[in-house]
Structures are given as structure tokens and as C-alpha cells.
């Protein structure tokens, strides 16, 4: 079990496409897989306006996780972060984010959430 440096964590975040955002929904822990894009030191996510995630992440502290494991070899890595999340309400900022290589897997998603990355940590399991 190897602890990853912040630089390694950022490189892995840049390489990954799918993560999980962790938030609080009516005082209960909630988690949702999302496609994301690392933009500088923040994570950009597309969701639908009015979705549970859009409401919960409008102005909150959330966690974000991405990983890649291989069951056969029992190896892999994970990166987690905690950070402040907000929805993007300014049309200019949304237009800038629309130029990122982030395409939603599900239709009807046109609402951006950004998560500033803080408390980054990562681990790798080797054999």
C-alpha cells in the first residue's frame, strides 16, 4: 500500500473519466457516479438542473473519488478529495465550461457543478 503524492493524484485525476461525488441528501450520505473533467485544480461535472445532485451540491462541501482496480491481480489505485462545490449560474462561465472535453453520458444534462479540490489523497496497491 503506497501513499501517492499530490502530483501523482492530479495525474491520475487527469487520466480518469468516471468518478463518484459524495454529498449529503436530507442529512443522509449519498453517492452518485459522474463523468468528470479535471480543469486546473477543480473537477467539472455535468448534471441536470433540479436533480438531487444539483440541489445538494449548489453550495456545499462534498467528497469526490475515482479509482481503477483490477480484480485479477488485486492491484489498483484510488484518489479522493474533499472540497467546496457550487453550481455554475453565470452564462459566461457555463459557456467557457462547454468548451471543455466533457460530454454527458445521459441526455438532458446542461447544468455544471464545479468542485474545488482540497484535501487530496491517494493510494496505490501493488503486488
Amino acid at each position: 500500500m503506497q501513499v501517492l503524492s499530490p502530483e501523482e493524484c492530479m495525474a491520475l485525476l487527469a487520466s480518469a473519466r468516471i468518478g463518484r461525488i459524495v454529498y449529503t441528501d436530507r442529512a443522509l450520505p449519498a453517492v452518485q457516479p459522474v463523468d468528470f473533467h479535471l480543469d486546473g485544480e477543480r473537477i467539472v461535472i455535468l448534471t441536470s438542473s433540479g436533480s438531487k445532485l444539483a440541489v445538494a451540491a449548489a453550495n456545499a462541501v462534498v467528497a469526490f473519488e475515482t479509482d481503477e482496480y483490477e480484480v485479477e491481480t488485486r492491484t489498483g489505485w484510488s484518489v479522493t478529495a474533499v472540497g467546496r462545490s457550487r453550481t455554475v449560474d453565470e452564462p459566461e462561465e457555463a459557456a467557457a465550461l462547454a468548451r471543455l472535453p466533457l460530454r454527458s453520458w445521459a441526455p438532458g444534462r446542461d447544468h455544471y457543478i464545479v468542485v474545488d479540490l482540497q484535501q487530496l489523497s491517494g493510494r496505490r496497491i501493488r503486488r
Copy 2:
């Protein structure tokens, strides 16, 4: 986007090996990938005694998520649950859990956490 039935969710949980447990760590959302085993209607996880997860999940409500996505075809599924978690302190119960086909990926993990599955939900994305 297809909503999965409880039976489909349980079948997918039975087929998966790696999930993420979502808990609260000092009032902040936290997430950790874990290897798990579905035992009836509960999830069994191995961790180290004294770990952050062991402390936080000793008597709490947590979320659990597992998924499988294929980036190339943009298809996949996810299953999430919310439920009460507890640590296993009785030696008899720990001995019974030790007979499950659950092997830890990291050394030094001999502390069981069980999560009773409630509020099960799942989604599948097809093309």
C-alpha cells in the same frame, strides 16, 4: 437510462467485488473504496481496527456504491444503498464472517463492518 429493480440491484451487488463506502468523518463527507461481499441483505467489509472507517462506521448510517462502466461504449450500471453500519465485536460472529469468500487486498485487516442494505437503487445506461 433504465431504473433497475431491487432484484437486479441485488444480482449486480452479488457479482461485484469492489465498492465504495461513504461516511462522515469529522462532519465532512468521506469515501473509501473497499472490497466487499454480499451476505444475504447485508454488505460485509474488512478493515483494520482503529482505521478511520472502522471508527466512523461503528454505529452510523452510511451509503454504499458499486458500479461498472465502459468508457468506450458509454454504457454501464451503478447500484447504491443507504443503511445502518456497525462493527462486529462478538468473536462468534467474526468467526462466522471469516468463512465468507472475502479476502482483504491489504494486510492487517481483520475487523469486520456490516452494512444492512436499505434504500437500494440502481441505474443502467444502454445505447
